[in-house]
């Protein structure tokens, strides 16, 4: 079995931002030379997410608004205190909770060197506490 691993660094520009990373993932699968197996895409953070949806701006806007409605900014969260392990105020509870709802990873099977997805499935990195430099990982495992 062959494996491939890469960390992709991006700088997000908005507090909540939905970034389509499908082309990057497809390109890394091609570069890996792996034909049959699995590709895993994971965020390395607890205030961001990886998700899949249709690549339409209106769906992206609806998704942003949905997570803001489900987890409002103004609420008496427990996580609203000084965090000694960081040396800063931990006042981003909504971002953590939105991340928990969306999840931090997705995976797809590979067949004949291509990702098996539905025609409308796009892969997104979702920033929930930007702007920040962020990292997501791509792990590909299978046979060449």
């Amino acid at each position: 079995m062959k494996t491939y691993y890469e960390e992709i660094h991006i700088i997000t520009e908005q507090e909540t931002e939905i970034i389509n990373i499908s082309n990057t993932v497809h390109s890394k699968v091609k570069d890996s030379g792996i034909k049959d197996g699995m590709v895993f895409i994971l965020s390395k953070h607890t205030t961001s997410a990886i998700t899949v949806n249709e690549g339409l701006p209106d769906i992206e806007s609806d998704l942003k608004e949905l997570i803001q409605r489900l987890v409002p900014d103004e609420y008496s969260y427990h996580h609203a205190r000084y965090l000694h392990s960081d040396g800063q105020m931990a006042i981003n509870a909504p971002c953590h909770l939105r991340s928990a709802l969306l999840g931090f990873e997705v995976f797809f099977p590979l067949n004949d060197g291509k990702i098996i997805t539905g025609g409308r499935q796009n892969i997104y990195f979702v920033e929930l506490d930007g702007p920040q430099e962020r990292t997501y990982c791509i792990k590909i495992m299978g046979n060449a």
Partner: protein, 282 residues
């Protein structure tokens, strides 16, 4: 146009990556323990918060901890790189060269004010031999002094050295030196308010950080403990907006201030008119 009068240029990768001593000081002296971000993120944070310019505040801890976090030269370089930064200097009041260092920083490096942190620099605000020459120089250079007052989150910071009330004699002796009491002096907010109400040359910045979101914090201190009308009536030209970034993020700090729903005049003064007045020495 909005100015954030209280930010610390520390978690910037470009200034840390070739300076392990600075990284060490930021972690172990100032107590910031999360990863540094590219300089571009600082600017993007400003954009996301709707802040046009930031005052960058260094701290010279040469005698207390053998470090500068960061140096005046680093602040000057950041200001040179980006016009959205306004730089203050810091000098060590325990050093015999404090006045010379300040004069160099203002005249040669082009910095616009002085930051002092008695809690972290380990000097007494009551030590007139150290304080008076510096404040006299600030008056002749026409630059403001921003002083950390109240709770020090730095691991070895001594909050007891940062009582706003200890400034009163200095304020009286230097009526032409503009003094900004940072963090509203929390938990000694009433001392800070008293000084700002009484003395023409005393100002307050709003960068309170102790518990909860900035909105909760400011609502408690300004809305409940002191009363918003005290600020509107007495401190409409004496209150300056500050976030204390990166102890707390700029976006939520702005939202916290805006949640107080001050009058438009108060808000315009806090974000722009009063900071400009101090920065231009008018």
């Amino acid at each position: 146009m909005k100015i954030d009068f209280h930010t610390h240029p520390m978690m910037i990768r470009e200034i840390q990556e070739n300076d392990p001593a600075l990284s060490d000081a930021i972690q172990n002296v100032f107590g910031l323990l999360f990863p540094a971000q590219p300089l571009r993120v600082f600017i993007l944070e400003m954009d996301a918060a709707g802040i046009d310019q930031c005052v960058l505040l260094p701290i010279d801890c040469s005698s207390a901890f053998s470090c500068k976090i960061p140096s005046n030269e680093v602040v000057a370089q950041l200001v040179k790189k980006n016009k959205r930064f306004l730089g203050f200097a810091s000098v060590d009041p325990n050093s015999k060269t404090a006045c010379q260092d300040l004069e160099f920083a203002i005249k040669e490096l082009g910095l616009k004010g002085l930051k002092l942190d008695p809690a972290l620099q380990h000097f007494s605000l009551l030590d007139e031999n150290k304080i008076d020459p510096i404040f006299q120089l600030c008056s002749s250079l026409k630059v403001p002094v921003l002083i950390h007052c109240g709770l020090s989150w730095a691991p070895h910071g001594l909050s007891k050295l940062a009582h706003p009330g200890d400034l009163e004699e200095t304020i009286q002796k230097h009526p032409n030196t503009n003094i900004v009491i940072a963090h509203l002096g929390w938990p000694w907010v009433e001392e800070a308010i008293m000084l700002a109400i009484k003395y023409e040359n005393v100002y307050l910045d709003t960068s309170v950080v102790y518990s909860g979101t900035p909105q909760e914090c400011l609502q408690h201190v300004i809305g409940t403990t002191i009363g918003k009308n005290v600020f509107e009536r007495n401190l409409i030209r004496k209150t300056i907006y500050g976030s204390n970034y990166p102890r707390q993020d700029m976006r939520r700090a702005v939202r916290g201030f805006n949640s107080l729903a001050f009058s438009q005049e108060f808000t315009d003064n806090a974000f722009l008119n009063t900071p400009l007045k101090l920065l231009t020495g008018d």
